[in-house]
Structure formats: structure tokens, C-alpha cells
């Protein structure tokens, strides 16, 4: 069991309150996922040609400042790094590939949690309320967030096994369910798509699968349509994109999902109780997404 929540603000005037509105949604899903929690937030885009990465290292005394200066010197460019607990957000005036290659070669002990121009991902073990506190989620601003509370069934409880999983530039995935063909698919993706995986986690394979399909030129909708055929198991997915989010449930629809929409926002959650405190929810359109149908908001 896990919990999923997503909130997309249609009304830009609310963007300053994104984290304040979102945090109770995440915490309400604690009973579905008390092991770990994570959020992806979309805000503060970097300029054209620049790249924003969220990085993770468990060591509280990790030399982030040295990473920033070494990288600036090596790549002969400007960078800025902001530490947020065990994570750090690095903005660098360099293409994504250059930044990633340098980090992988020079700082293999650092894990890249997200890549893009606008996305940031924060995730940790612990109760959702503790994780939200650690990263000051309630103070976050932006256009949209998705989040996950985890009750592990398929792999170890670790930070790397927590959701959201990055699925490419400004994309991420959260998953409630379990996939039964993840081992074989992981091997296939390693061999045929050259993907690298950090965990034994089934959801990371789903994220890798989407990364692969998108790299092959699929639109997100096309990739999700193909996922219905290629992923075997139970799932409700929420996929964060630069401009919104998408939702997909497996054809049997074992795992729950509910959506709500007003003039001001669109929200999804595993259960309605996560939406129950959103402003104006009493008059919102509330519905359950149909199985095997791709829903998108923004220009996902």
C-alpha cells in the first residue's frame, strides 16, 4: 500500500500557497505509507541552456560547497547550490549531459534525484510529517507538486527506493501498487536501452520504462498507453511534468484514485480524505479516474 497526492494550481494567484495547501494532503496519506515520503515541486525555472539538478548525499557534513566550486572551475561556468537537509539543488549554466557526466565521474557518491529546468525532488525515510518538516514542504511555492507516502512491499526502505522517481527532464513518477514483471523488464531496459538502475524497486523500473519510451520519441500520452501493454501488475501512477501532471490506473483498477477540480486547482489523491481540506472542495467536481485511461492536466 502507498499513498499518492498531486496538486496543480490553475489560478496563479495561489502559487505562493502551494506547499501550505499540499502538505496536509501528503500527511493525510500517512496510514497508507508511513515508511518514507517524497515530493516533486515545480518552481523557479532556470534559464535557457541552464540545468537544475536535485542531488542527494546521506552525509550531513558533505562538502557541497566544494562540489559547487569544483564544478564551476571544471566546466568554466556559473553554478549555484542550495543545500536542503540531505539534498541540494544545483543550478548550473551548462547543458544537462555535461553536468550529469561531470557529477557521475567526479562525484559518484552523490545521487542525482532530479534533472530538468524546473523540477526539484525531495524524498527521505520517515513519517510523511517528518519528511515534510525536514524539507519545509509547507513553505514551498510553485505551480504544482506531486507526492508519495510509501509502505514498501517490493524492495528495501531506503531514500533511493522512495518516490518520486525521476523519469527524465522535468519528469517524475509516483506509484501505488506492485509490478510483477519488473525484473525481466529491468534486465531488458539495461541491455537494450542502456539504462542504469539504483535499486531493486519495481517503481524505478516503471520510471525507467517511461524514460526509455520518451527517449524513443513517444509523447507522454503515447508512453503511458504503451505502459498499459508492457507493465504487468497493479498500479496507479501520477506523473509530474514541467507544466502539469498525468494519472493512469491499471486496467483492473485495484489501486484507488480520486480526482477533484475547481476553477482554481486540480488535485488527485489515493483517497478523498487527502482532498477534503482543499479550499472550495465542497463545490468541486469529484470523480474517480477510469481504468486504463490516461488523464493529463496542464500541457503534460
Amino acid at each position: 500500500m502507498c499513498g499518492i497526492v498531486g496538486l496543480y494550481l490553475k489560478n496563479p494567484a495561489l502559487q505562493g500557497e502551494l506547499g501550505r495547501l499540499f502538505t496536509p494532503m501528503l500527511i493525510e496519506m500517512t496510514e497508507r505509507g508511513p515508511d518514507s515520503a517524497g515530493v516533486a515541486v515545480y518552481h523557479n525555472p532556470v534559464g535557457d541552456g541552464a540545468t537544475k539538478l536535485t542531488l542527494f548525499n546521506r552525509d550531513r557534513d558533505y562538502a557541497w560547497k566544494a562540489l559547487e566550486t569544483d564544478m564551476e572551475r571544471a566546466l568554466d561556468t556559473e553554478a549555484s547550490l542550495r543545500r536542503v537537509s540531505s539534498h541540494a539543488v544545483l543550478s548550473i549554466d551548462a547543458p544537462e549531459r555535461t553536468a550529469v557526466d561531470w557529477l557521475m565521474d567526479e562525484r559518484p557518491e552523490v545521487q542525482i534525484v532530479s534533472i530538468g529546468r524546473i523540477i526539484e525532488i525531495y524524498k527521505e525515510m520517515g513519517l510523511p510529517a517528518e519528511v515534510a518538516e525536514e524539507f519545509a514542504v509547507s513553505e514551498m511555492t510553485g505551480s504544482h507538486m506531486i507526492g508519495h507516502t510509501r509502505m514498501a512491499t517490493e524492495s528495501a526502505v531506503t531514500t533511493a527506493g522512495s518516490h518520486p522517481f525521476s523519469t527524465g527532464r522535468d519528469l517524475c513518477l509516483v506509484h501505488n501498487g506492485s509490478l510483477s514483471n519488473h525484473n525481466r523488464l529491468r534486465e531488458w531496459l539495461k541491455k537494450n536501452a542502456g539504462l542504469r538502475f539504483q535499486t531493486d524497486n519495481d517503481s524505478e523500473v516503471a520510471a525507467g520504462y517511461l524514460t526509455h519510451r520518451l527517449a524513443e520519441g513517444d509523447s507522454l500520452e503515447q508512453a503511458l498507453e504503451k505502459a498499459i501493454d508492457d507493465l504487468d501488475g497493479f498500479y496507479t501512477f501520477a506523473i509530474g511534468t514541467a507544466r502539469g501532471f498525468a494519472v493512469l490506473r491499471d486496467p483492473i483498477a485495484c489501486k484507488p484514485a480520486v480526482m477533484a477540480e475547481t476553477d482554481d486547482w486540480v488535485a488527485m489523491a489515493s483517497e478523498y480524505r487527502s482532498l477534503a481540506k482543499l479550499p472550495g472542495v465542497a463545490n468541486a467536481a469529484v470523480w474517480e479516474p477510469e481504468p486504463a485511461r490516461v488523464y493529463t492536466w496542464g500541457s503534460a
Binding site: 483492473i252 483498477a253 484507488p256 480520486v258 483517497e271 478523498y272 480524505r273 487527502s274 482532498l275 477534503a276 481540506k277 465542497a282 469529484v286 470523480w287 474517480e288 477510469e290 481504468p291
Partner: protein, 227 residues
């Protein structure tokens, strides 16, 4: 009328209060406000009272109900009125999956749509859905009646036993061993009574009847070799 505000008072206190009502209680009408999608609201009732809930509820609302009338002025999460024994549950909005699962008696009315597996393993209760039902509805339903005024999703009545199904709209696909059956006078009469009990204005003649072909669950001596 007693009002119970779930924003102020804990859910367990509500259920305990309703369970502890004496048999001849005068407090027969209860209103519950701010349900906030909580699970297990008004479960296990066994008094002839009316409980009206203003807002959306979570899972298993009015589960195991006996005697009571539970009205939900909103949507329901999974398993509304699951294993109901008697009484009446009315949902003014939509119901999530497994509505009325395993209900032995009573009437469940859903004024909106019901999602997947509505009436799964029904054991004698009645369900009337004004809207449509999702896939695998009436799966392995043993007894009771299911009326769908809208459409039915895939695999309707899969592995059906002796529950009777009436659908006014389109059935996207019948499940294994579920077949359309002739609508006889007694069925029209039964359907008229069900619609009337549910307060639905519809002409029974517009519905089709579905039931079990009885090939799956009956021992067939001619197929002895394949068992």
C-alpha cells in the same frame, strides 16, 4: 435531531454512540457533518434510525448495516454498505468500487454512478444504481437483485450464481456464464417494485434482464471426463 460534527468529535465516538442506542430509542434521526472522507462512518448499525451524512465519505460507510437508513449527501469511497444485512443506504453522489459487496439484505441506492465491482459476491441484498456501473459488477453474485439504469462496464455478471441483473443501457461485455434472459411478467413486476422502492422513475419495459447460464457452477454429468 442529534447532530454529530466529525470536525469536532472523533469518529469512534459517533459509531459507539450509535451502537449504544437502546432498542426503543427516541433519538431516531442523526445528522453527521464534516465527514471529510473518513473511513468506517456509521458502520455496524443495528437500530431503526436514520443517519444523514452531509459530505463525501471514505471506505466502508454503512458497512454491515442492519435496520438503519443511512443517507449520504455526497460521494462514497470503496465498499459502501458492504455486507449489509437489512435496512437502506442511499448515496446521493457516486460510489467507488465494491459498492454493496456481499450484502445479504437491505436496499442500496446509488443516485450517481458506481465504479468497478458493484455488487461483487452479492448474497441477497438489492442494489439500484441510477447511473452506470464499472467493470466486473455482480462478479460471483449469488442472490439478490442489481438494477442499473445506465450502462454496465466489461464482464458484467462474471461467474454469476443466482443474482438477477437488470440493465437499461448498454452492456459493454457480459462476463463468463452471464447471459441475457427473457423478461417475464414476474420480472417486470419485481423490477417495478425495486425502482419504486428506490424512488427511481423508469419504465421496467426499457430494461433487459441478465442471469446465470448455470454452466459454470453446476456439475454436468456429460462433462464428467473433463472434471
Amino acid at each position: 435531531m442529534a447532530v454529530f460534527d466529525l470536525a469536532q468529535q472523533p469518529l469512534r465516538e459517533l459509531n459507539r454512540t450509535l451502537h449504544d442506542l437502546p432498542e426503543e430509542t427516541n433519538e431516531t434521526h442523526w445528522k453527521v457533518t464534516n465527514p471529510m472522507g473518513l473511513h468506517n462512518i456509521a458502520v455496524g448499525l443495528d437500530r431503526p434510525i436514520t443517519v444523514e451524512i452531509d459530505g463525501h465519505v471514505g471506505y466502508y460507510c454503512a458497512g454491515m448495516n442492519q435496520q438503519a437508513e443511512v443517507l449520504v449527501n455526497g460521494n462514497c469511497g470503496q465498499g459502501v454498505a458492504e455486507n449489509m444485512m437489512s435496512g437502506r443506504v442511499v448515496v446521493r453522489g457516486n460510489a467507488s468500487q465494491s459498492a454493496g459487496a456481499t450484502a445479504h439484505g437491505g436496499l442500496l441506492v446509488i443516485e450517481g454512478d458506481a465504479a468497478a465491482r458493484c455488487g461483487i459476491s452479492l448474497k441477497g441484498g438489492d442494489i439500484v444504481v441510477k447511473g452506470s456501473v464499472g467493470h466486473m459488477s455482480a462478479f460471483m453474485a449469488q442472490a439478490g437483485r442489481i438494477v442499473v439504469c445506465g450502462d454496465a462496464g466489461e464482464y458484467l455478471g462474471d461467474s454469476l450464481y443466482e443474482a438477477r441483473i437488470y440493465v437499461r443501457g448498454k452492456v459493454s461485455q457480459l462476463g463468463a456464464d452471464c447471459v441475457e434472459k427473457e423478461m417475464e411478467a414476474a420480472h417486470l413486476e419485481e423490477l417495478r417494485d425495486l425502482l419504486s422502492a428506490a424512488g427511481v422513475e423508469a419504465d421496467p419495459a426499457d430494461f433487459r434482464r441478465y442471469g446465470s447460464a448455470r454452466n459454470l457452477y453446476h456439475f454436468n454429468v456429460d462433462k464428467m471426463d473433463s472434471y
